[in-house]
């Protein structure tokens, strides 16, 4: 019997997810989250490849990517709403610089 954490990890396995080619993904991370109304949720961080031109992304591809993640979670019985953040590693590094 898999735990919720194991099923979540399986759902977010990049080798199994069908994601739009225009948004190459480096890795996906998930953590427990509580939204502002107090509902349990998931916080999903999708790290995009640096090559993605965020000034010219296609809104449909963004929706397809998020829906693929949501459907994969639902298919494994994870019904928490996933709040998904798209970020590049360079932006995460900037955040580290700000804190130093």
């Amino acid at each position: 019997m898999l735990t919720d954490e194991q099923r979540t990890r399986e759902a977010l396995d990049l080798r199994k997810l069908k994601l739009p080619a225009s948004l190459p993904v480096v890795r996906i991370e998930a953590e427990d989250y509580t939204d502002w109304t107090g509902d349990d949720a998931l916080r999903i961080q999708v790290v995009l490849d640096e090559s993605v031109d965020v000034y010219h992304v296609n809104g449909k591809d963004v929706g397809d990517l998020k829906r693929a993640i949501h459907d994969s979670l639902i298919a494994r019985g994870i019904t928490l709403f996933p709040y998904i953040w798209l970020v590049k590693q360079s932006e995460l590094d900037e955040a580290d610089d700000d804190e130093e």
Binding site: V62, I84, L86
Partner: protein, 175 residues
Amino acid sequence: MVHDDLLAQAELLATIDRRRPKQVNLRRAISSAYYGLFHYLVDQSCRMQMGAHRAQAAYRHAIARGFTHATMKQACASFGGGTLKASVSQGLPRNASGRYSVPIPVREIAGTFAELQQKRHAADYDWSERFGRSDVLTLIQQAKQDIAQFDSFRQSNDRKFFLACLWAWKELANR
């Protein structure tokens, strides 16, 4: 339309800094994008209930004051998941697997609304959350796409049902 202006404002704020974006600009961009989608959905719901004629505008504006963020979020998080719990979907048309299936245009705009509302809250109140330009710009494009897709889905009963649920959700979901 006010939602177009708010989404354009969001885009402007997200790109106003040429190099590293200031957090305040990204946070205000998220807020503008959220209110763009919020006012769009409220307006669509009011037009459906009251009518779209200019002479009915005052009535639409009066009804619009009755919408609440929390109720809309609860409805949207549910529609965004693609299915509804049995007490809500009772009697609605079923798909081959015996469930009410939320059409993609409804599912997508609902999911984006729930996500934007949470991020708007974090942008305004949570300084432990840091926003990146990638997330803000992709979310704005997603909201614009969802509105265009939802606009082309006008005659659907599922669309009308969703718009009614934005104000009736609490009563429906608690039965």
